[in-house]
């Protein structure tokens, strides 16, 4: 892999930028691999990278039905934070946050990681109590988290409206200073480039249409480009997690819903952090290009269309107007939807299954982007060793039978 650097940029510039290598190869599928990862989103590519880098499994492939990063990875609003309530969630999201901090350097790719801080607002006393409790729980888990009153919120984020005359005034909020945003494509491409350099085959426009088994063990996959033999298949397909599991008659507690987002026309810097509000239900940040990036909750119905309804957008806009009247004359430029796989306890599934050699990583719902490096890291460990590590173990499928749910709805109502 040719390293990217300022010097290299100048050198290539002088040569008219004709000397750059392809960022990853375009290989033909091999007849067999030691493991196959289904889904070329951030989580799937991170899994492949850590399998190759940390577990020496380089004869592996990532199989993607469209182009890499064309799913939720390319459609999400990239809010990163780890201020979840429960120990199990704090462990995995903080693990991810630690990895994010050095990821650009490690991958030698500019992922535009910006730790600009994430504000979670409170609009009534009940919410205030709940958020303050979360701050204390976060601190016990070593997650950076602090409580700000309304004035301090305004000091941190001057463009916000804290007037008492709106329907749900801002009473305060929590701040995670290490939270922030990054560039979704940068992360996907960075992982793809690094995994490819370690020998991982990335097979795009290749859809998995069946999973082969013999005597309860995985032996391969059927794809739109032929059969591939492999003893280990790992599904990291987000919205299609149930579709994959259904191929092996494995039942999952997941439902797939559209989640929409939209961006405004680009404007000068006005919003210096990420602002989230559960009560009025909207969140917003500003991209480096200057666009406001806005989102909120899922469409209620189950759907795979990657499209949602306009009333959801309308509601988000109304909420945004209340928090930021200054945005009222902005035009919205683009709007889109992804399909998120929602678990009943709003926590992911990282698990072995009753079929030996079939692993599932999914159920991240509306908030899995922030976990990308951590998710890939612990999932690679599970695939390589066939045993979950301490961080992954609480997210096994059997929690829905034992009742040991990781019920993060409090932390995840709007939650990204």
């Amino acid at each position: 892999m040719k390293r990217y650097s300022a010097l290299e940029l100048i050198r290539q510039g002088l040569g008219g930028h004709r000397g750059w290598d392809r960022v990853w190869r375009k290989p033909e599928p091999k007849p067999s691999y030691d493991a196959v990862i289904i889904g070329g989103g951030g989580h799937g590519l991170a899994t492949a990278y850590y399998l190759a880098k940390l577990h020496g499994m380089t004869n592996i492939a990532v199989v993607e039905k469209g182009w890499i990063g064309g799913g939720n990875s390319g459609r999400n609003t990239t809010i990163i934070r780890s201020n979840y309530l429960f120990d199990e969630s704090a462990a995995i999201y903080n693990h991810a946050l630690d990895l994010w901090k050095g990821l650009g350097q490690e991958l030698n790719f500019n992922i535009m990681m910006s730790h600009r801080g994430v504000l979670n607002l409170a609009h009534d006393e009940g919410e205030m109590r709940q958020l303050k409790r979360r701050v204390e729980a976060n601190r016990l888990n070593g997650v950076d988290s602090e409580w700000l009153d309304a004035k301090e919120v305004k000091n941190f984020c001057p463009s916000i409206n804290i007037s008492g005359h709106i329907r749900y005034p801002v009473l305060g909020g929590t701040l995670q200073r290490s939270g922030g945003v990054n560039r979704h494509d940068g992360v996907v491409w960075g992982y793809a480039r690094a995994a490819d350099a370690l020998g991982v085959d990335i097979l795009q426009q290749t859809e998995v249409t069946g999973i082969l088994t013999e005597a309860g063990e995985v032996t391969g996959i059927e794809t739109t480009r032929g059969t591939i033999r492999t003893p280990k298949v790992a599904s990291v397909t987000a919205g299609h997690t149930s579709v994959m599991a259904n191929m092996l008659d494995i039942r999952l507690p997941v439902e797939s819903h559209p989640l929409q987002a939209l961006v405004s026309e680009p404007i000068k810097p006005i919003l210096n952090c990420v602002v989230m509000s559960n009560a009025v239900h909207v969140y917003c940040s500003q991209s480096d290009k200057g666009e406001l990036v806005i989102g909120a909750g899922i469409d209620a119905q189950l759907s795979y269309t990657q499209r949602g309804n306009l009333d959801i957008i309308e509601h988000q806009m109304a909420s945004l107007m209340e928090l930021f009247p200054i945005f009222s004359r902005l035009r919205m430029m683009r709007q889109w939807g992804g399909i998120v796989d929602v678990c009943p306890d709003a926590s992911p599934i990282i698990s072995k299954t009753p079929v030996k050699g079939f692993y599932v990583n999914g159920g991240w719902g509306t908030g899995g982007w922030k976990a990308t490096p951590g998710s890939g890291h612990v999932f690679a460990d599970l695939i390589a060793k066939d045993e979950p590590n301490r961080i992954a173990a609480p997210f096994a499928i059997d929690r829905f039978t034992t009742g040991a749910l990781v019920a993060e709805h409090g932390a995840a109502a709007v939650a990204h």
């Binding site: 149930s242 994959m244 507690p253 439902e255 039978t401 034992t402």
Partner: protein, 123 residues
């Protein structure tokens, strides 16, 4: 936005309705004898179908009654509306050619090449 044909009230905007999830999940009768795994199946496990899907809706701001609907979750086309207790009618739908594929209309996924049935037959 869906326009939903309530069996009692007729055509109304989706915003009048509340989604109530997968249909035809019967409450177990001998619950005192059920294992944890059977409870997990009833309470949590869902088919999450890509394709023709029977679901319940509740006309929350209309007649306030539940009813069933048959919808293609790969295209969002509504195929039938029928009453609670009735079986889903037989319909033909524009289904994806593969389990995780996209139908020839209705998909917002521009990352994959969508094959129509004619193209599939020709290739």
């Amino acid at each position: 936005m869906f326009v939903i044909d309530c069996p009692n009230c007729g055509s109304r905007d989706q915003s009048e309705f509340t989604y109530a999830g997968e249909a035809h999940i019967a409450r177990p009768t001998e619950s005192e004898n059920m294992t944890d795994a059977e409870w997990a199946e009833f309470v949590f496990m869902r088919t999450n179908t890509k394709g023709l899907f029977a679901e319940r809706w509740w006309h929350a701001t209309g007649c306030r009654k539940f009813f069933n609907m048959l919808r293609n979750t790969a295209t969002d086309e509504i195929h039938a509306v029928y009453r609670i207790g009735e079986k889903p009618p037989k319909v033909t739908a524009n289904l994806p050619l593969t389990p995780a594929g996209e139908s020839s209309i209705g998909s917002g996924n521009d990352a994959v090449k969508i094959m129509t049935r004619d193209e599939e037959n020709a290739s």
